[in-house]
């Protein structure tokens, strides 16, 4: 069965909410309640889950722990993923310092930059390598995900290199609409784009009453 891409995008959201419920000590949750927490309709949650199996109990709901484990397994969150960062400027440094990846099983195992000033620098527990050596380094050991934090001008080049080395998932912080071959997945993190679509509504909407 072909699973709609939007469904895949929502699963991590469900997993996160279930993790919270689990920490709160909740044993069971209904699609109704989960939906209320996430701003999603109960029918949508049930339909989404139904693509993967039958995890609920009629009349009761879902066992939090059980559903969480299932989702983790479906998404592959039950293992460690190895990432490389390309671009160690301001943004790249912030990404290296971000504490949110590791607890979720995402580890940055190498960082690359083009500037001679940055190459060789110690950043946390790794040393910045020359981007020239990207392809040889990637052929050494397995890397699952590439994070691109270089300027727009060189981003497509870097992405091409990553793809050439067999990287099939890319998180792109550069403000470009990168082209990747079929089979490679790329997600854009682009706050400016987000802001620019919100201003459309700001121009128009009736100001909220004071």
């Amino acid at each position: 069965m072909e699973i709609p891409p939007v469904v895949i995008d929502r699963l991590p959201l469900y997993a996160r909410a279930l993790d919270m419920l689990d920490r709160e000590g909740r044993q069971v949750v209904s699609s109704q309640e989960l939906g209320a927490r996430l701003g999603v309709t109960p029918a949508q949650i049930r339909k989404d889950l139904s693509y993967f199996g039958r995890f609920g109990k009629q009349g009761r709901g879902y066992t939090v722990r059980r559903l969480l484990d299932e989702l983790r397994q479906i998404l592959g969150l039950d293992r460690q993923w190895r990432m490389v960062l390309v671009g160690v400027g301001r943004l790249g440094r912030a990404i290296l310092g971000y504490e949110g990846f590791a607890p979720q099983g995402f580890r940055i195992v190498d960082a690359f930059d083009a500037s001679p000033k940055t190459v060789g620098q110690q950043m946390g527990n790794l040393v910045v390598k020359d981007v020239e050596d990207l392809e040889s380094a990637l052929s050494q050991d397995r890397v699952d995900i590439g994070i691109v934090a270089v300027p727009a001008e060189t981003a497509q080049q870097v992405i091409d290199s990553l793809v050439k080395c067999g990287v099939r998932s890319i998180l792109n912080y550069a403000p470009i609409a990168a082209q990747v071959p079929r089979g490679v997945h790329i997600k854009r993190i682009d706050p400016v784009l987000a802001l620019q679509s919100m201003t459309y509504h700001l121009k128009r909407d009736v100001p909220a009453a004071k």
Copy 2:
């Protein structure tokens, strides 16, 4: 006429590409070529633009400068937008230091934090204020957009405060599915969510041939 939300989300993409073309000195572009650059079908570009007017010339295409100006006006990119940042931890500092907002007309005019250690610190050209004073500060002068970079636990609270003060657009970096009333627009920047949906494909797809 009611404009599909996805269309609004694509317009900034078009504007960005047109800006690049303009800098390259291009006068005219077809939906075909613009689409090729962005990975969007030409028909989609034409349909999207048709919601707002008739900007092209048959047999020729679109005048780059003209269409760019139109899109800027539609999106409200022809003015300055005032933003406040809430949360000046690691992430908040990175956001304050990000040079990508200002050139696009987005200016952070105030920063707030809850920690006594951070309040009062000079960050660039502004002094971090106490989040306690958020509501009074916002009632002083106009703020268009709130940027939330606080921990998950306090994010909903902060968002409620912003909304209460009349902020109708929020950029949320906290890993929660925040609830906002109708009429308030919120966009999530959540790299972990992006990674977690990509791993689904990594688990399954056939590895690229060497």
